[in-house]
């Protein structure tokens, strides 16, 4: 069986990995060379199923919990298993309790424990939630490494999006490009930025809870920090707005004043594809399998969705062989 995967974002590459692992010949069609068009390029790369449960359905936790091992197996060394730290300014302490009431898999930390985990935050927060089971990766590095691994395995990457005529099966992983074509699929704009500073060191993603402007900061190493991300109900992928930039920077500054002196090295906008319940779907219609609706959970849920899609791809063929 030969499969053409359309879309080389995180969903497409995870599916290519699952299929090629099963010995299936795979071609991946990219709309643009590189990953610039993919929402995954602007992702935080947090593998945080317990934290996400604060606002997401239970399925995000159950399907996402295996993602950490999946990425670790697929790309040894790419995953940092340092957990997630969730903090709130003293006046929003109630928000931390609310977060705790919606989630599981955490420990309450006092100021001394926060300092042991993240010395840079010493004296800044009196209490925090620590989710020890969570992990993070660098999405851009992971996408590049996964693409390279697939190429080494013999997966072909082509530039054009043909009709897949010479293939037995097409897998549509084009994400937000399907908005308008796939009923019920909408875009949720996410703006992010990269800061560089040598004055702060963090070992794990830190989430700052704020009633209006929640922020996460993910350390990428070498003084680089990814800060995100807004959630705006539109598929407008245009440049970050002044308001969003101001709010993200304000929140970063509230987490640590040294971010005020950091260099703003990049801003970006991704459009997350989401269905009404913000849960992804794998569907099959004839010889076309579709993965879409990964919303803000591309790296967290693509492994599970890719495995489901791979089973869908293989199962009918086996039945056919038996008949």
């Amino acid at each position: 069986m030969r499969v053409l995967i359309k879309g080389a974002g995180v969903a497409g590459l995870c599916l290519a990995h699952e299929l090629s692992t099963r010995g299936i010949a795979v071609t991946v069609a990219e709309r643009t060379p590189g990953f610039a068009g993919a929402a995954s390029w602007f992702a935080g790369g947090m593998l945080a199923p317990w934290c996400e449960r604060e606002s997401a359905e239970e399925a995000v936790l159950t399907k996402g919990v295996g993602a950490i091992d999946w990425w670790d197996d697929a790309l040894p060394g790419a995953v940092s298993r340092n957990g997630t730290l969730v903090v709130a300014p003293p006046r929003d302490a109630g928000e931390l309790k609310r977060f705790a009431s919606r989630t599981s898999g955490f420990d309450w930390l006092d100021a001394a424990a926060i300092e042991r985990l993240e010395p840079a935050l010493a004296g800044r927060f009196r209490e925090a939630l620590f989710f020890p089971g969570e992990a993070h990766l660098d999405p851009r590095l992971a996408l590049s490494q996964l693409r390279q691994k697939l190429a080494d395995r013999g997966v072909t990457f082509i530039a054009e999006m043909g009709d897949g005529g010479e293939h037995d099966l097409i897998a549509d992983c084009t994400g937000a490009a399907r908005i308008g074509a796939t009923p019920g699929l909408r875009g949720v704009r996410g703006e992010m930025l990269y800061l560089r500073t040598g004055e702060v060191e963090l070992s794990r993603p830190v989430r700052l809870i704020h009633p209006r402007i929640p922020l996460y900061i993910v350390p990428r190493g070498d003084g680089l920090f990814m800060c995100g991300a807004t959630m705006i109900e539109t598929d407008d992928g245009g440049p970050i707005t002044a308001r969003s930039l101001m709010e993200l920077l304000n929140a970063a500054y509230a987490l640590h004043p040294a971010f005020g002196e950091a260099r703003l090295v990049e801003t970006g906008t991704g459009v997350r594809p989401g269905f009404a319940n913000n849960l992804p779907r794998v569907t099959r219609a004839g010889q076309v399998i579709t993965i879409n609706g990964l919303y803000r959970h591309g790296f967290l849920l693509s492994p599970a969705l890719a495995a489901e899609a791979a089973e869908l791809a293989v199962a009918p063929a086996l039945k056919g062989d038996a008949a």
């Binding site: 606002s55 997401a56 359905e57 609310r98 009431s101 919606r102 908005i179 308008g180 909408r186 875009g187 704009r189 009633p211 209006r212 705006i232 109900e233 539109t234 598929d235 407008d236 992928g237 245009g238 707005t241 308001r243 459009v271 989401g274 269905f275 009404a276 319940n277 913000n278």
Partner: protein, 257 residues
């Protein structure tokens, strides 16, 4: 029956549409609340995009009255501009007028509010002003042309519930014929019951429902609480007193038992 700018309504709950976990959760909450009016912020979702406002489509598809709001506006001109955009997008003269005076607490700028209310009322808008519980400001808003008032009972999103009952009573007593909707500060159903018992006509909620672990269930809890408060107000409540009063007459009872 509640009447707002000539529109008869059965439900006395108005629901905000921000900050739900998902559009599906929002829709479930709207359905289970039985609300007939949802408020929508126009500021950020209008950024554009290929779908021309998929979120607005979703709101329209709910099939309830839309009350656009000017959330996040900090000046008269900004609020007036946003109001005009809202009228175009939603084809309604209704407008929840919000002019924020303080970035952090989101406290209304009542001076700008009155001015914007006058401008918009003159231009044919039917203004629902989000205001404080100040009696004089309420009076000025009515003079400016508002036919509905929406005083807060505590700061937006604070979930503190009614903080100044005497002020709420005073507004109700001074404007017996003006529809009064408590907007902002309600955290739990008992808060909503309390203000409805005071004789307020309706309650506007957002965070208390959107931020609940199960928004749809909380929405129906609020609907029941608002009904209970309204029915109690219409039924006429006892006033508290300082001493016990037996519920069963004691005269004629055998007292030597």
């Amino acid at each position: 029956m509640l009447t707002l700018y000539g529109q008869d309504l059965r439900s006395r709950l108005l629901l905000g549409t921000a900050r739900y976990p998902s559009p599906a959760a929002l829709e479930d909450a709207v359905r289970s609340s039985g609300t007939e009016i949802v408020t929508v912020s126009l500021r950020r979702e209008t950024a554009g995009g290929r779908q021309g406002g998929a979120f607005f489509e979703l709101i329209r598809a709910l099939g309830v009255h839309v009350l656009p709001n000017t959330a996040g506006c900090h000046s008269v001109s900004e609020a007036v501009l946003t109001a005009k955009m809202a009228r175009e997008v939603f084809g309604t003269n209704w407008l929840k007028l919000e002019v924020i005076g303080h970035h952090d607490t989101l406290q209304p700028d009542v001076f700008a509010l009155v001015e914007a209310a006058r401008i918009l009322s003159d231009e044919g808008f039917e203004v629902f002003p989000y205001t404080t519980d100040d009696l004089v400001v309420a009076e000025r808003l009515l003079e400016a042309g508002c036919k509905v008032l929406m005083p807060w009972c505590a700061p937006i999103g604070s979930a503190m519930g009614p903080q100044n009952i005497p002020a709420l009573r005073a507004i109700r007593a001074n404007f017996p014929d003006v529809p009064l909707i408590v907007d902002a500060g309600i955290g739990r159903p008992s808060h909503a019951t309390t203000v409805m018992e005071l004789g307020f006509d309706a309650v506007l909620l957002n965070t208390a429902v959107a931020g609940a672990a199960r928004p749809a269930l909380m929405a129906s809890a609020f609907a029941a609480a608002i009904d209970a408060g309204r029915q109690a107000f219409e039924a006429g409540m006892l006033e508290p007193r300082d001493f016990a009063v037996p519920s069963t007459p004691v005269i004629g009872k055998a007292v030597f038992a």
